[in-house]
Structures are given as C-alpha cells and as structure tokens.
C-alpha cells in the first residue's frame, strides 16, 4: 500500500484525513498514484493534473523521500520506500496567494 499526503483543500474536497493509503497496481509512479487517487476519490479528478495535457498543475509539487520529484518523468518509478509504504508520496500546494 502506498501512503499519500494531500494538501489541505484536496483533503477537504475528498473528506479524508491528512494521509490516505491506497493500493497502486503495477509500478509505483506519480501517474499511477494519481490514477489510483482519482479512482478512489473521483471528486479530485482534474485538480492534480490537467485533463488535456495530463501534466501536473503548475502550482503543485510532488515530493518523495525528501526529494522534489516534480520534474521527473511522471511515469518514472518512485523510490522503494514510497512503493513499500515506508515513506509517503507528498502532493504539496505552492505557498502563495492571498
């Protein structure tokens, strides 16, 4: 099982606590995690990645094992610690706005 930390507004939208645990079939990649998140929480579709381009929303970042993996290929495998559930995959909103 993979642990995923969602930003505040997405947690509220999905009615979940800070961290969710999901089953990710196959290779654990950012895309695979988002696929699983969107399947479990359909209200989050279109909020993490763009419908048209499938790319990460510009004001969001992805972190794994204290590394910013936002600019890695979205289908690149994440560290084993994320795949095993030892460390969370973090979706973080930019600290910006008013």
């Amino acid at each position: 099982m993979v642990r995923v930390e969602l930003p505040f507004h997405l947690r509220k939208l999905a009615h979940v606590d800070e961290e969710v645990t999901i089953d990710v079939p196959g290779a654990v990649t950012p895309h695979a995690i988002i696929d699983a998140i969107e399947a479990r929480y359909p209200m989050l579709r279109g909020t993490i990645r763009d419908y048209a381009t499938n790319q990460r929303k510009p004001f969001l970042r992805f972190f794994a094992c204290e590394e910013d993996v936002s600019f890695a290929a979205l289908d690149a495998p994440l560290p084993e610690a994320v795949a095993s559930g030892a460390a969370p995959f973090m979706i973080v909103g930019a600290l910006s706005g008013g």
Binding site: H9, T47, L60
Partner: protein
C-alpha cells in the same frame, strides 16, 4: 413564496443567506468550501433547492458543486470542460494569435424547464451545456467557431463568457456576452450564433463600431419582455428593443456610465438598476460615495439611491455578477462589494441596509424567492 435565499460567491468561499419576506433579519451560513473562489452559484427555477456552483482556485483549477437541498449539503460533479475539436486561436492582448485555454467557469445558467440541464459560460470564452445535473459537459462550439472567433480578445479580467440569458418565451433563444468580444444571440438552442453589437461604440477600438471587440460587462432583461435588453458596457449603458439587433445609449444624466452590474425590477420592466463606477482606471464609486442609480423610464433619466449606503470614504467595487433582485412585493434588490458587504433593499432601492459587512470580496449574488 414568503422568503428569500441569497447565494453569495466570494473569493474565499460560498455563503447562503436566508430571510423571511420582511428581509430584515438574515441567517448566514458558510463559508462553504472556505478558501476557494466561487465565481457564481445559481439555483434552478424549476427546483430552487437544486443549486449549481462554480468553485475554483489557482492551485487546483476548476471544480463544480451541486446541492439538492438548497445549499445545506453539496456534492462534487463534473469538471471536465474540453473544447470541441481543435480549439484554434483567438487574439491575445498584443494582437498575436493565442491558443484557446480553459481557465474557469464564470457563469452558470440553469434551464428554465429542466433542473438537470444547465449552461456554463467559461474563460477562455465558450458555452458548455450539461443535461445530467452537471456530471458531464459538452461545448456548444458553434459560438466559439463563429467567424469572428479568431478576433476575440481578452478583457483585463480574462476572455470570459460571463452572461447567459434564456428567453422564457422560447428556450431556443439564448443571449451571451463576452469580455471583450461583445454580445451574441442564438435562435436555435446554441447551435449557431450571430453578433448583436450594432449600435455599440467603443472608443478604445481601432474601429469603434466594429462587429466584435466591445467589452460588454453585463446584459439583463425582464422575463416578461425578453426582447428588451439592458446592457452595462465598459463605458455606456445601452438598451435594445429588438433582441439586440440594434442598441441605443441610455446613459442620460448619469454622472459616470462606467460600471459592471445591471439588473431589472422584478415587477416593472422599465425600472433598471446600476452601480456607476468612477472610471475604467479607477474601479471605485465616484467621490467615495456608494450609489445605486435607478431609472423608472427604461434609461436616460436616472436617480441616485443613497439612503443607507456609505456616502464618504467608500472605495469598493461591485463586480458584474454581484447584483440581483427578488420577486417579492415590493421588489428586493441586492448587491455585494469587493469590500465584503452585501446590501439589501426591501423597497426597490429606496433604502438600503447591509446584511453583512465583512465577508471576503464578493464576486456574485443570486436571489432566490422561496
């Protein structure tokens, strides 16, 4: 019908306010979805408890909410707004071609006959329709594919389709307005469109009477007389008596005719309300005095309405979606400000009272007579 429910969209959440027919004491519920922008909320005329809401922010983009119990609880519905086919380009601020890109939903217009059917006006300008309660959206692409589409340009707030009117006598007739393209009418349910801009004059355009390029801020009509349209343009208050085929200026004695909102009295088709703003460069009331202007003669002769409104040091704006009327007797008029006030007049504008003073900036106000 004995009461009013206000649906208020703000920069930081949605609010639902209710009152009895006296409209003196209000119960305020919210914020719903605190921290999110709500560009618009609107209830179905067929089932007022069915409410659609446009929720967005800069991080997560557009989401849509729907309530089936008058705004007490909400469910997330579809947010996939995909342009039909290859969207092509419109004109950017500097005159260069720019790809059409969906950004947000500015306006929701529920059908007059079916609570599951609703139109959405979006930025970059297009109109979408859902027939399943907002779960799925399909573009009525005849508008965006209009022969002038490649010449449409964004206004300062983006290239938004912000006004949708459905003719109560013929639901196949739709009116839309786009900043800064102009106004359009469809007589076949949105399949094809024609510009309705004859008579508009915009001095900032290279050709002031061009077919498109006019920054229309709002259009309103009275349901009993849907061929008479009232328009608040960037500058100029306008009127058409032939469904937009021709427009005439009705600014008359207004001290300034720049503004955003315009609305029509629920029982008097020739009584019109606007909130003049100082200028396109200074988006606040003239002389720091918040004034609603009312014409009882369909324009040209306007009277300031000030009783209960701040008459000094007031520098708020009233955005295009932030005024509405109820249909009680006497007609109630409501508007919200960027300073977070929502004002109510229970006597058709003669006197005003703030329902609330300190909300986040108000983007939209819809009144439901329930």
């Amino acid at each position: 019908m004995s009461g009013v429910r206000l649906l208020v969209g703000t920069r930081k959440g949605a609010f639902v306010m209710t009152s009895d027919g006296k409209r003196d004491k209000w119960e305020i519920n919210g914020p719903f979805f605190g921290g999110w922008q709500f560009y618009h909320l609107k209830g179905s005329p067929v089932d007022p408890n069915r409410i659609y809401a446009s929720q967005s922010n800069d991080w997560f983009g557009q989401t849509m909410q729907r309530s089936s119990d008058g705004g007490k609880t909400w469910e997330t519905v579809g947010n996939k707004f995909t342009y039909d086919g290859v969207p092509g380009t419109h004109q950017w601020y500097d005159g260069t071609p720019h790809p059409w890109e969906f950004k947000r939903v500015w306006h929701l217009e529920p059908s007059l006959s079916d609570p599951d059917t609703v139109y959405a006006g979006v930025e970059d300008a297009a109109i979408f329709k859902s027939t399943d309660g907002g779960q799925n959206w399909e573009e009525l692409s005849g508008l965006r594919r209009h022969s002038t589409g490649s010449k449409w340009t964004p206004g300062a707030g983006g290239m938004c389709l912000h006004t949708i009117l459905i003719d109560p006598r013929n639901e196949q007739r739709l009116f839309v307005a786009i900043s800064a393209a102009g106004a359009f009418r469809s007589d076949d349910g949105g399949a094809t469109w024609k510009t309705i801009t004859k008579g508009l004059h915009s001095k900032y355009l290279p050709e002031p009477t061009a077919e498109v390029g006019h920054c229309v801020h709002r259009i309103a009509f009275h349901p009993s007389r849907p061929s008479t349209l009232f328009m608040q343009k960037h500058w100029d208050v306008m009127r058409s008596d032939n469904a937009g085929d021709e427009w005439t200026k009705i600014s008359g004695n207004l001290p300034t005719d720049f503004g955003f909102v315009i609305d029509v009295h629920a029982h008097e088709p020739d009584t019109v309300f606007i909130v003049p703003i100082k200028s396109d460069a200074e988006h606040y009331p003239l002389d720091g005095k918040l004034q609603v202007f009312r014409s009882r003669k369909g324009g040209n002769e306007w009277e300031p309405l000030t009783k209960g409104l701040p008459q000094k040091d007031c520098y708020v704006n009233v955005l295009r979606e932030a005024m509405d009327v109820d249909s009680l007797d006497a007609c109630g008029v409501y508007f919200g400000t960027t300073g977070g006030q929502v004002y109510c007049s229970a006597d058709a504008g003669d006197t005003w009272k703030a329902i609330v003073h300190d909300l986040p900036p108000v983007v939209s106000v819809e009144a439901q007579t329930i």
